[in-house]
Amino acid sequence: MLTLPMTLNMTVETETAKIARGLRERDMELVADLVERCQHRLVRYLLYLTGRREYAEDLVQETWIRVLQRGSQYNGRQRFDPWLFAIARNLAIDYLRKKRKAVQTASLPNDRDAMLLLPSSDPSPFEAAARSEDAMRLAGRLQILPPLYREALLLRFQEDLSLAEMAQVLGAPTTTVTSRIYRGLAALRSAFEEGDSHGG
């Protein structure tokens, strides 16, 4: 009875060890495979974090380049995804910080970066991605939800990361992680509560 979980565990270890070795050796075949597997989820994560598609698209390439540069730091003992998200998160925070600074120091009204931070007239990425009536209801809330809560909800309910893995990505204790999830859930749940009470 013990052999199956042990075999599964060994398979996971082999997979992550293979990724670690490939990254250390800058194996382009492996990197291309990782891009293929994770690109979609990376874009989604960055969208949740930044709330804007153009920022997410910018950051995706940066993230992969950083993965290549820092590949030797991935030890292969944990899953690859949390490590990837942690890299993307650090880059996104720096990126958003620079954008905010650019807006604060912008002297010209038509400064490109300042314009980028103005509210976009395009539909929010969440509305564009909603595939059901319920998702459409949540989309508006997600757009105004603080990114920290949005991120926590995504990692838990879409990426299915464990609380420990989330703590690793967010660089925060698990108590903080759970509290962000609960608050995020409460904010989104109210979209249905209000909607239903208005609807009668």
């Binding site: 800058r26 382009m28 990197v31 291309a32 891009v35 293929e36 690109q39 979609h40 874009v43 989604r44 969208l47 698209e57 995706v60 390439q61 992969w64 380049i65 290549l68 540069q69 990425p125 969440f126 991605a129 909603a130 595939r131 059901s132 319920d134 998702a135 209801r137 949540l138 989309a139 909800l153 995504l154 838990r156 309910f157 879409q158 609380l163 759970t178 999830i181 609960y182 859930l185 989104l188 749940r189 979209a191 249905f192 509560e193």
Partner: protein, 152 residues
Amino acid sequence: MEGDKRFRELIDKSFVEEVSEGERRLIHDHIRHCDDCKRYLELTARTIRGLREFTFTSEPDSSAQVREILAHHTGTMRQHDVQFKIWAAFAVALSMSIVGSALVYQMAKLLTVPTHFDTAQVQAGVLVFWLLPSFCSALRLLAAPGENRGIA
């Protein structure tokens, strides 16, 4: 109300963390007679379900674009690695030739008396037969073509 609050926290916990079988049964028993908490549980489940009903599409050629950029970047990084190794090898070889020459010179100086050479001859000998060849060998590392250069 206080009791409901506790159950709602337990309901949240059941979606986010592991709950024991006892706690699960507790929730189940409670919602059978508490409509508010039952509705709370349904709304929470609906919210989480709703969250999974977003489909984000990335640009169709974005993966290919990223792969292309990474391939180019890897090439550049490999070139930098080779350059670094060449200069590192050169630095090591140069230091070895200087240190080695100094040691050889000290040894040769001791032999000046039994061999009847003067200091200038010893200096010239060390320079011609030791320092210059080893310095040339170090320089050769920089001159060798492509991947064969340095210790790469």
